[in-house]
């Protein structure tokens, strides 16, 4: 196999896996597809932009502040918007997530600008490197490395800590988890905070590709995360990660096999694949895991 293709696929898959993981964590516990998730990514982008232009922070601090912005936004939207409607119908939660999404888009539209802003990332991000005859942006290697670290940390958190156990239990049987004395708010807040963290981390690499951010930046990564979870399976974090990598692979395969005249229809082909998944394997590649019990 071509090494360049391999690195490209791995890096794209890594980014998509991070995106999907953040979405599925909240889904696992609240059974909510959080359509405001893309906005956490967008807010992280503005965090990068503002900390660089207003605070003149060094690059590592802008990244820290960008991720922090996403974590805070995620947590605050849980407190202010999702918590009050949690015990209502699933529809109420979904509509709330749309409302949060539109609200956040309009906040930056009014407070910053409707137009795209350039985000400065370290030069290293856009430099290229040649390994074994394959030329690739350093960014691609960074995202692979970051994803490996994040997945190891996540796996440690979920498997080895009591909070992780409680979150897995809550995704399985929410009420019974509360019967163990685990506070409902603790696991839900933790899910939103981790989801925001993953949105922030992936935002650095998402924004890194275009080096700009605008109020609608979040819609594309949200869609990717959603599709990846549909393909991989919404019922476990493993499914989300697998879905992310499968998405990356399919996307790159389409990119090199489609004739040049068809390349702009790449997304259409992706959607066809998703429809096929929904028809023939609606539970995704990885089955099982979470049940459908909702938070009461």
């Amino acid at each position: 196999m071509n090494l360049e293709f391999f690195i490209n696929t791995l890096s794209l898959g890594s980014l998509y896996a991070l995106l999907a993981l953040g979405l599925v964590l909240v889904y696992g516990i609240l059974k909510l597809v959080n359509f405001a998730y893309g906005e956490y990514i967008m807010i992280a982008g503005y965090g990068l932009y503002l900390s660089a232009t207003v605070l003149h922070a060094p690059w590592w601090a802008t990244m820290l502040l960008g991720v922090l912005a996403a974590v805070l936004t995620s947590y605050l939207t849980e407190l202010a918007a999702f918590r009050p409607v949690r015990s209502k119908s699933p529809m109420a939660l979904i509509v709330t997530s749309f409302a949060v999404s539109i609200f956040l888009q309009n906040v930056v539209l009014i407070m910053v600008s409707p137009r795209a802003r350039a985000v400065q990332l370290p030069a290293l991000f856009s430099q290229t490197i040649t390994i074994g005859g394959a030329t690739t942006p350093v960014r691609n290697l960074l995202v692979i490395g970051t994803t490996v670290i994040v997945l190891v940390l996540m796996s440690f958190l979920m498997k080895k800590t009591v909070l992780g156990m409680a979150m897995r239990a809550a995704a399985d049987k929410f009420t019974t988890t509360r019967l163990m004395g685990v506070p409902a708010n603790l696991v839900i807040s933790a899910a939103f905070i981790i989801s925001g963290f993953l949105a922030g981390i992936s935002s650095i690499f998402w924004i890194g590709r275009s080096a700009s951010v605008d109020p609608l930046t979040g819609s594309a990564p949200l869609l990717i995360a959603f599709i990846a979870t549909v393909m991989g399976g919404m019922h476990s974090p493993t499914g989300a990660v697998v879905g992310g990598f499968v998405y990356g692979l399919l996307f790159n395969v389409l990119s090199i096999t489609l004739p040049a005249s068809m390349i702009s229809y790449r997304d259409a082909f992706m959607f066809v694949i998703v429809v096929l998944f929904l028809l023939f394997r609606p539970e995704g590649i990885i089955r099982g895991g979470y049940t459908e019990e909702r938070v009461g």
């Binding site: 409680a166 897995r168 399985d172 009420t175 019967l179 163990m180 004395g181 409902a184 895991g289």
Partner: protein
């Protein structure tokens, strides 16, 4: 003063009223049964005590403090544990993780080790299956795990919801022997059972629920004497309407 006092409890699922003024008491050290046919309101009573279901009216007092409308996680901390109907083991978590979560509300490292040892003595099978996923256990083993998980919280009051449901006769025997053993160790237990005959063999007192209200309350002897249990539970003409002739 009783350990648990339930006064005039009303509860409903949406528009369907499930409890119509249930009152009951459990004293420290007692093993009390809540009996009745399907839909009589037994599980609903436990859920309302536990805060899983918000009662519409009435009060629940535990150790002199009102716990009505408290969250389940708060009530567990106060010392009430519920072994839910259908066991509700975390199937994707290991036996070890199930037990660790049981100790969530009152975890102390040293005590935890000792507690695990105690559970292994009570339920040797759990030591054998320690690293297996809870979902791989048999029904009876899951029931043992569910009880052990609840005991890990050191409850002052243990509530068991239909522990014998769906178990083989041998396993049912084991569970009832265990309940008796727990009572002898000094646990206070509120037991919900459909199998009234078996329950009356082990309990001190019992409440008979029918249509969401207490139909009769008394000691085991009184209950056995005054109520024709067989008639109510095993195919009597009045089984559905639950009209008990006193």
């Amino acid at each position: 003063m009783p350990m648990l006092t339930v006064e005039n409890l009303f509860a409903s699922y949406g528009a369907v009223r499930a409890l119509h003024g249930v009152s009951l008491e459990v004293n420290e050290g007692e093993l009390v049964a809540l009996l009745g046919v399907n839909g009589a309101g037994k599980s609903t009573t436990l859920k309302s005590i536990m805060g899983v279901l918000r009662p519409v009216k009435g009060t629940v007092t535990f150790l002199g403090q009102e716990i009505t409308n408290r969250k389940p996680e708060v009530i567990v901390k106060r010392g009430v544990s519920l072994v839910p109907e259908g066991r509700d083991i975390f199937g994707t978590l290991t036996v070890e993780e199930n037990l660790r979560l049981g100790a969530f509300s009152s975890y102390q490292r040293d005590r935890y080790k000792a507690d695990l040892k105690e559970m292994f003595e009570l339920f040797p099978i759990l030591e054998e299956r320690f690293t297996q996923a809870g979902g791989l256990l048999s029904g009876g083993e899951q029931q043992m795990l569910a009880i052990a998980r609840a005991l890990m919280a050191h409850p002052k009051l243990l509530m068991l919801d239909e522990p014998s449901l769906g178990l083989s006769p041998t396993m049912t025997d084991q569970i009832f022997t265990l309940i008796k053993g727990l009572r002898e160790r000094g646990s206070t237990i509120l037991l919900v059972e459909q199998n009234a005959e078996r329950a009356l063999e082990v309990v001190d007192r019992a409440y008979l629920l029918a249509n969401g209200a207490v139909e009769f309350a008394g000691t085991t002897e009184e209950l056995k004497r005054k109520v024709d249990i067989a008639n109510v539970y095993f195919g009597g003409e009045d089984a559905d309407s639950c009209e008990v002739s006193l």
